[in-house]
Each structure stands twice: as structure tokens, then as C-alpha cells.
């Protein structure tokens, strides 16, 4: 077990370095440079561009730029090209904004899709099953921002829910409870929107897993020995159907960074996705690279966590 862990962690670290090299090369080799963001500006003289290029190390060979980036990242001195602010603290600040949205969305997705999926599997072929199937496919097929815009129109008129930003303007000095309530209130719509597609995908998956498990012999045995239907479904079938979902937990993590660009853009939510979007617009290479690096690290970490969880949950699997 420990040897397995040490070996995978070493492998993953190597993989992470390769990924950072590749993404560094891709971003630097693609046309378009930070010094060319504003080519029409008459105040930009050739000398200024040369100065910018020099201070960003853009004239150095590629491998040297990579070394610079990695060194600055590790010593915590990495500065944004755009405004010279340190990258890591800014990402941390945005991360704290993204986290509640991510947690809330995940919570909604996982609490809503299990009952829906299980019911659909139990009542297979019924009107309920067929209509949830169709709704799920519709939610998967609709462009996210199209649905969000349509729902915003209705929700704002009927429920007067706020749909922009983290908190109401001018409540910075209100007492703690009030501020917390205000933030929660702002969280409702973005997280429900972001959760809808997730619910559709996950509930389909729950349904097919349950269908598979319900046909197993041990479920028939449980029924035959006269257990209540409740016990059979939740005690025997569901527990076994849950296994693959442990893997899904691992794949959730990277969604923290890249999964929410569209929704953060719609709701003006200053999170990581929006940070990345702004960085891309301004060719802010250190920021883009660091975000990419963190997303890859989160993915690898997520896979590792799901491997370990799988071994913990399923006694048939042993990590060698």
C-alpha cells in the first residue's frame, strides 16, 4: 500500500512536470504575445515593447523562460504580466470566491441526482422514468448560457433573486449574520444553474448503475429471503451501485477551475474561471500557466484520491 502510494505519487509528479512543459511550450509558441495586446496604441513605441519584452524575459530561449517561470512559482515571486501583482495570492483570493459556488453546486448535484436516478431505475419504463430521461437529455443538450438567460428572466421577476456578483452593493459594513445571509442569497441562482447539467448527467448514471445492480443474483436472493423492498433497494442494491461513483469524486476537483468559466461570466462571479478568462484576454502568460498547472495538479490529485477511496470502499481491490 505505502509502496504503491510512493510510486504513484512519484509518477504523478513527473507527469505534472511534463504537462507544465507542454502547456508552457503551447502557450509560448502560439502567435500573439503580451506586448502585442494593444497594437493600435500610439503611445506604445518600439523601445517600450523592447523594454516590456526584456522585463518579461520574452527574449530568452524557451527553456530558460520555463525555468524562470518554475523558479518564480516555487519561490512565490511569480508576477502577473498585466499589473505586476503576485500571482499566487490572487489565485488564492479567487479560489476562496469559487469554493462556495463549487461546494454548493456539488452538494445540489449529488443530493438531487441520487433520488431521481434511483426512482427512475425502480420504475423503469414508467411515465416518470421516460419523462426524467427526456428532461435529462434536454438539459444535457441545451447550451448552458441559453438556459441560464431564459431562467434568469423568470427568476428575477418572480422571486426577486439577485443574479450578479457576490454580495449586494453597500452591505460591506452590515453585521456578520446579515452579510452571510446576503452571500448565501447570491449563491442560490448561480449554483442551481451550474448544477442543472450535472444533475442530468449524474442521475442518468445513477439510473444505469442501479439497473445493472438490480438484476444481480444477490438482489434476487435478498428478495427471496423476504427482506423488505426498502432494505433490498437501499441496503443491498444501492450500496453496490455506489462503488463507481467513488471514482467520479476524483474527477470533480478540476471542475473547480475550468468548469465554471461560462457561469462565472454570466453571473459576474469573480472566481477562478473568470480569472482565467481575463488572463487569456490579456495574454497574461504566468497567470494562464499557473492556472493550467493547478488544474492539472488537481486532476492528478483527484485521480489519486479516487484510487485510494476505491481501495478503501471495495475490499476486492488492493493497491499493489
Amino acid at each position: 500500500m505505502w509502496r504503491y502510494l510512493a510510486r504513484t505519487i512519484a509518477q504523478r509528479l513527473l507527469l505534472l512536470i511534463v504537462i507544465s512543459m507542454v502547456s508552457h511550450a503551447v502557450i509560448h509558441l502560439a502567435p500573439g504575445e503580451p506586448s502585442q495586446v494593444d497594437p493600435m496604441n500610439p503611445m506604445m513605441k518600439a523601445a517600450d515593447i523592447a523594454r516590456i519584452r526584456q522585463s518579461f524575459h520574452l527574449d530568452d530561449p524557451l527553456y530558460l523562460q520555463y525555468v524562470h517561470w518554475l523558479r518564480d512559482l516555487l519561490t512565490g515571486e511569480l508576477k502577473s504580466f498585466r499589473d505586476g501583482s503576485p500571482v499566487v495570492p490572487r489565485i488564492w483570493g479567487r479560489f476562496l470566491n469559487s469554493l462556495p459556488l463549487f461546494l454548493c453546486t456539488t452538494l445540489i448535484v449529488w443530493t438531487a441526482s441520487f433520488p431521481t436516478g434511483i426512482q427512475a431505475a425502480l420504475r423503469r419504463g414508467s411515465v416518470y422514468d421516460r419523462s426524467t430521461t427526456l428532461i435529462a437529455y434536454t438539459l444535457i443538450s441545451i447550451p448552458g448560457f441559453f438556459l441560464a438567460y431564459l431562467l434568469i428572466l423568470g427568476v428575477v421577476r418572480i422571486f426577486h433573486l439577485p443574479v450578479i456578483g457576490l454580495h449586494t452593493f453597500g452591505t460591506e459594513h452590515a453585521n456578520g449574520l446579515r452579510r452571510a445571509m446576503d452571500r448565501l442569497w447570491h449563491l442560490v441562482i448561480p449554483s442551481v444553474m451550474a448544477a442543472l447539467t450535472g444533475i442530468a448527467v449524474l442521475s442518468r448514471y445513477v439510473r444505469s448503475q442501479m439497473l445493472e445492480v438490480l438484476e444481480q443474483d444477490y438482489v434476487r436472493t435478498a428478495r427471496a429471503k423476504g427482506l423488505s423492498e426498502e432494505r433490498v433497494v437501499y441496503g443491498h442494491a444501492l450500496r453496490n451501485a455506489l462503488l463507481p461513483f467513488v471514482t467520479l469524486f476524483g474527477f470533480l476537483l478540476p471542475g473547480l477551475i475550468s468548469g465554471s468559466v461560462i457561469f462565472e461570466q454570466i453571473f459576474a462571479w469573480p472566481g477562478l474561471g473568470l480569472l482565467g478568462y481575463e488572463a487569456i484576454l490579456s495574454r497574461d502568460f504566468p497567470m494562464i500557466l499557473t492556472l493550467n498547472f493547478m488544474a492539472a495538479a488537481l486532476t492528478l490529485f483527484g485521480i489519486l484520491v479516487s484510487d485510494i477511496l476505491y481501495a478503501l470502499v471495495d475490499p476486492r481491490i488492493r493497491l499493489e
Binding site: 511534463v18 504537462i19 423503469r124 419523462s131 441559453f146 438567460y149 475550468s258 468559466v261 486532476t299
Partner: protein, 332 residues
């Protein structure tokens, strides 16, 4: 939508007499088709797709080759007219729309929305299809190489390990973020979008093909082909690739849907296909500005994308069910 929903296909296959009567004479294609045909939802979607292809071809014909609908004609007096309205009397004769009618209204420049949708159908569809062809080509190549020549070693490590670790590397990139980065950095062009979507979505195909190849290698017919001394390329392309296509085809159908959605998301963020081309995605993204004044500019392309993507997804699911040997009772 009121498409009738059928019971799952496997429940219909209980009629074993029918299955037996059909016997061994069926080709695999016929077997799949027989199951697929019974999934009414998937069949309805197939008709939707056929209609879409027809719409796209007619659109290409009528907007570019024999210009009846000109999507680029600007008619400022007629801007933001609702669907089914007639042109105003201020227009010169040359600018009048066909049949003196705007069936889907006009946009903020007075362009005929139907003409733009007709042009956009072909572009949107080709973005999806070209992107998926690229990803399938890369996926089959990488997966096939890893599955067939996997045991050979290059630099002490087997080809299989190299290729699959490489696939893992690409899988670790946050896909949409990567697409966004590359599309933002590259010069704006519709071909770049197709290529980038293609390059970032081949990993699933590669894994499917590799798994199928590993299973097929041990099958009797492949061993027989080897014993007969067929060339490797013949074994791969005539014997193994066709047998590995089932999961690839399913994921390709669903990937077309995903590519169309990705294109519209890119348009929303301002990195989509640029103005001379209209796509459904950028008509929708531009329409959101007028959501209060001219809701049809938003609702029409949005619903069109929804219906088409839904149809691709349902056909994909129908194919998956029809090709799944667990669900399909073998005729033999």
C-alpha cells in the same frame, strides 16, 4: 416536445420467434438496425437529423450558389422585426426578401434571420463533423497503434505505455480552458476552431479503440488472418478497424453534439467563428443583447441548437443500445 417515448429496446426483444426466424443470414448492420428501429425516440431523432442535413444543404445552395436568401443584406429600415412580418415600404426593390416575408424576423441590422440560420446550419454542422473527424482520426491512430504494436519497445518502454501515458497527459489538461487559450492566441478562423476542438477530444476514442484492439488481437479470425499471411495493414484496416468501430461510432455521434455546444460556448465568450460566417452559436451569442427587445433573435437559434444537439445525443444513445451485445439477443 411531444415525441413518443418507447420502452427500452431490450424489452421488445422477448419475441424470440421473430429473432430465430431471422436466423444467421443477417449482417451486423441489419442486426443493429433492427434494434435501433424499435427505439422510437432514436428514430424520431434520426429523422430530425436527416431534416437538418437537408436544411444545411438547401441553406448552402440558397445562400451561396443560387442566392435566393442573402444573409449579408443589411436593411436598416427593417431592423428587429418579429417573425412573419412583412418588409416595410421604405425598401428598394432589390432589397426585398423572398416572398416579401421575414419568416423568422430580422436582426439588429435588418438581416433576414432565416437566411442567416440557413447559412449557419451548414457552418455549424461542418464545425461539428470536421472536428469529430479529426478527433476520430487521431483517436483511431493512437489507439490502434497502442493496441496492435503495443508490445514493441522504444527506449526500454513499450509503445503502449508511451502512448497511453501521453493520452493521460492530454486528459489532464482542463479541456475547455485549453480550447479557450489556444483559440484566443491563434488568429481567429473557423478552421482553427475545428482543429482545436478535434485535437482536444480524441482521448476517449483512443481508449476505446485500444481496448477493442486488445480484445480483437486474441480473436480467432485475426489469428487466422495472420496465419494466412495477410499483411499487417490488411489485418488492421480490413479485419480489426471495422470490428472496433461500434463504440467509436457511438462516441462520435455524441461528440458532434458536444462540438456544436462547445462552438456556441466559445461564441458566447467572444472567441467563436468570426462574422463573415454565421453559425447558430454566434447568432445565439449575438442575440442575447436583444433578449428584451427581440427575443426571437435569442430563442430561435437557441431552440434550434437544442433540438439538433438533442437529436445527436439520442441517436448516439440509440446506437449504443442497439450495438450493445448484452442488450441485443444474438441471432445465432
Amino acid at each position: 416536445m411531444s415525441i413518443p417515448v418507447s420502452p427500452r429496446p431490450e424489452s421488445l426483444l422477448g419475441a424470440s420467434a421473430e429473432v430465430e426466424a431471422l436466423g444467421l443470414a443477417e449482417t451486423p448492420f441489419q442486426q443493429v438496425w433492427r434494434t435501433f428501429r424499435k427505439d422510437r425516440l432514436a428514430m424520431a431523432s434520426l429523422f430530425v437529423l436527416a431534416a437538418l442535413f437537408a436544411f444545411a444543404l438547401v441553406g448552402k445552395l440558397l445562400t451561396e450558389w443560387w442566392v435566393v436568401f442573402d444573409p449579408a443584406t443589411v436593411r436598416l429600415p427593417d431592423k428587429l422585426l418579429p417573425p412573419l412580418s412583412a418588409p416595410s415600404s421604405h425598401l428598394s426593390k432589390a432589397l426585398l426578401p423572398p416572398f416579401h416575408l421575414y419568416p423568422l424576423g430580422t436582426d439588429e441590422l435588418g438581416r433576414n434571420v432565416l437566411a442567416r440560420m440557413l447559412q449557419g446550419a451548414f457552418v455549424s454542422l461542418s464545425v461539428g463533423l470536421v472536428a469529430v473527424s479529426i478527433s476520430m482520426a487521431i483517436g483511431i491512430f493512437v489507439g490502434g497503434l497502442a493496441g496492435f504494436y503495443g508490445q514493441r519497445r522504444v527506449l526500454f518502454v513499450s509503445i503502449d505505455t508511451w502512448l497511453m501515458r501521453f493520452t493521460d497527459v492530454v486528459l489532464c489538461f482542463p479541456t475547455f480552458f485549453l480550447i479557450l487559450t489556444v483559440v484566443a492566441l491563434l488568429p481567429p478562423s473557423i478552421y482553427n476552431i475545428m482543429i482545436v476542438i478535434g485535437i482536444t477530444s480524441w482521448m476517449g476514442t483512443a481508449r476505446f479503440v485500444r481496448a477493442e484492439f486488445l480484445a480483437l488481437r486474441e480473436q480467432d479470425f485475426v489469428i487466422a488472418a495472420k496465419a494466412l499471411g495477410f499483411s499487417e495493414s490488411r489485418i488492421i484496416f480490413r479485419h480489426m478497424v471495422p470490428n472496433a468501430m461500434a463504440p467509436v461510432l457511438v462516441s462520435a455521434t455524441i461528440d458532434v453534439a458536444r462540438a456544436i455546444l462547445t462552438e456556441s460556448a466559445l461564441s458566447f465568450l467572444g472567441f467563436g467563428v468570426r462574422p463573415p460566417f454565421a453559425t447558430w452559436g454566434n447568432i445565439l451569442a449575438d442575440g442575447r443583447t436583444y433578449i428584451f427587445d427581440a427575443p426571437w433573435l435569442f430563442v430561435i437559434p437557441g431552440s434550434a441548437i437544442l433540438v439538433v444537439v438533442l437529436a445527436f445525443n439520442l441517436v448516439g444513445e440509440g446506437l449504443r443500445d442497439a450495438m450493445n451485445p448484452k442488450l441485443r439477443k444474438r441471432a445465432s
